[in-house]
Symmetry: C2
Subunit: 419 residues, 2 copies
């Protein structure tokens, strides 16, 4: 008897290792915004942000292959590429952020960033939202709310209510008041504030719609208390929002530390922490940090190729242009449960709600499957899992937007609305 | 004025980012056991274990390039390669270790392994040696002694004296007594024992010479207290010790969790945690762990290629054969400060000491530079930094051993012995 892929997976990986979709997709090939499964079926990828410049981009593949053949070593020797990469990245950043280190994952980057804030301030307290995810290390998972950390949450963590633009509109004043209360609480507990870590577009919170300047009062509260602002650009960086290379610039906030991850190497495991020199010095003084794979020449070559492709193919501009078009098409959809359509460049949320704005999570779960049946990969996020999450590779253009919108109209018509 | 590489590095990376050697080496190319610097000078690599099957091995490069062009995605979709990789790895492991997950770095692997022990036992206490290094995440760096963790060491860590075969020979009884005392102390503190993490050849402790079975009494003490044994195979795995694929089998101990890192992808960032099914289930039940880059098809292809090359080129056998020869040549060296010559396959220590076995660290520092001047890359480790550390890529053979031994004889003759 042949073992099914699911059975083989459970045998080798153990229980509770979820896949997407009710019947997992068995992907074997990718190109641009397209993916193919083992049966030869093609899917339009409207979800994967790791393959930022498109699946299997030949320039990134060539850069990885060439450098891997030439030399792959570590930063205990001099190598130009890691410095070229830091030079290129810091040149895109303002706010005095002029130094950095390469690591391998966004989780490693955020693990370092939290310690940077703690080293720079001499205090431990960290603020994040109560609907976030910043990574999987033991330290960073203290900030996650998807499942509480083993052994309970550390005393230095304060999670503030995530903004929900649909149910409780806010110009940023209420969010800042929550942040101030968390600061006061950390100080009253004798812990004090090290910093606040946020994804500038609040991607895991469901990409709430908020006015320009929304995060400014909260970051000002952090600064007044002597804390650091850490911008987790793992999801919103590298031009995804269309208007800006980095999410924090779109939101008009000035971070002390910026962390980068998923899209940075188009799938090659590379990530980064960028910081102001005083913050970097505080960290380097407190901690003998070395990362064997971090900043290896192959990772740096991959990251440089991604930056080249973003520039040469005008991918940020494509995201801005396509976003305007796709948002129009999404807003033209008619369905009784559509409560909100929003977007930040190539990151879109379509929120579904019933009576009294009750999250229509079950409906969206069915809708995601209906989209899969139509060969379109999307997913869901936000309060009650009721926001359709659309986050395609950056070369996703107007013809793809049409395919997506047509499929969504069809799927909406075919998906049963719960009684 | 042209900025020097060192100045550029300090400008972009900040202070306290050490390089090897008094004048850092600027490497640009590698092939097999050879490296070349920017001036075209060739070095015999007797140090780098990441390039396990040799720098730029064409089969590994080809596997990475082919899979990167085809598809690079994550384990939320089915893919055969991650399962093939786990199948191949678990087939080499005994002790009921039948499941695993791929991550990106040895640090991530050990960060997970500690949480596995804590989840499986419901207790927090971890034991390691007082001269170890298991990684750079906030959690794992709690076990490091090179620099104390920011904010002090956590209450659940107990560091036992590292064995020192030269100064205090031990058949394992004394080491086990230290471990038992740590267990008793954790229990008295109401913390209890989760497990013990060890590199089976104690690489960072200076690769002390110890008799077969040395670690058995200590691991038995851990088991009696209900704790888990975690074998950190990041340095000693993948056949390096010559006699065995894994260091724990060489040492005759049965781990519950095995972590893999550096050599696994020949420089590609891939690592793994392998465990028994009950331990994996405990972790997966307690923690919603997902690693975006972990187990991506390119990483799995790199790891599979490394396993293929180790087998097809007989690299474990080469390490065993060359080791016998090189140890003979090292033992034939005559120098007043040589106190011990030891090895475990392609991992060698030559310890230097003066009167009363005082570590001759300054001498070894000069010796490492003298070897560099002769085009041979080595380093130092162990008590007082007085052990010459030799850990070449696995294809290092008898002609290379002769080059190394000849250079070392010459460097020993040329290096001034401190008065």
């Amino acid at each position: 008897m042949t073992e099914t892929p699911a059975a083989r997976r459970a045998r080798l990986m153990g229980p509770n290792v979820p896949t997407f979709y009710r019947t997992p997709v068995h992907l074997v090939r990718g190109e641009g915004v397209w993916l193919w499964d083992a049966a030869g079926r093609r899917y339009l990828d409207c979800y994967n942000n790791v393959a930022h410049v498109g699946h299997g981009h030949p320039r990134v593949v060539a850069a990885i292959a060439a450098q891997a053949a030439l030399l792959n070593t570590h930063t205990r020797y001099h190598h130009d590429l890691v410095l070229d990469c830091l030079e290129r990245l810091t040149a895109t950043l303002g706010h005095g952020i002029a130094q950095g280190m390469l690591v391998c994952t966004g989780s490693e980057a955020n693990d370092v960033a939290i310690r940077m804030a703690q080293a720079a301030t001499g205090r431990a307290g960290m603020i994040a939202t109560d609907a976030t995810y910043h990574g999987n290390t033991a330290l960073v998972s203290q900030l996650s709310t998807r499942r509480p950390p083993i052994g309970g949450r550390a005393p230095w963590v304060r999670l503030v209510p995530a903004p929900d633009g649909l149910r409780s509109p806010d110009d940023g004043t209420r969010f800042a008041a929550h942040v101030q209360a968390a600061i006061d609480d950390l100080e009253a507990a004798g812990i004090g504030l090290a910093g606040m870590m946020l994804c500038p577009v609040l991607a895991n919170e469901g990409l709430p719609d908020f006015p320009a300047g929304f995060l400014v009062p909260a970051t000002e509260a952090v600064r007044r208390a002597g804390g650091l602002v850490i911008a987790d650009e793992v999801q919103c960086g590298f031009g995804r929002t269309g208007s800006h290379m980095w999410g924090h610039d779109r939101m008009g906030i000035a971070p002390d530390v910026v962390t980068l991850g998923k899209p940075m190497g188009n799938g090659h495991p590379v990530a980064a922490v960028l910081a102001t020199p005083p913050v970097m010095a505080a960290f380097r003084g407190a901690f003998g940090y070395f990362n064997t794979f971090g900043g290896n020449p192959v990772s740096a070559a991959a990251a440089l190729a991604v930056l080249d492709v973003i520039r040469d193919e005008g991918l940020q501009e494509n995201a801005a242009r396509t976003s305007l078009y796709l948002l129009d098409r999404l807003r033209a959809l008619r369905h009784p449960l559509i409560a909100d359509v929003r977007g930040a460049g190539h990151f879109y949320g379509v929120e579904f709600a019933g009576d009294g704005l009750a999250p229509a999570g079950d409906f969206v779960a069915d809708l995601v499957e209906a989209m899969l049946a139509r060969g379109v990969l999307v997913n869901r996020i936000g309060p009650g899992g009721a926001t359709l999450k659309i986050r395609p590779p950056m070369p996703f253009g107007i013809p793809h937007a049409d395919l997506l919108a047509d499929a969504l109209a069809d799927a909406l018509a075919a998906t049963r609305v719960p009684a």
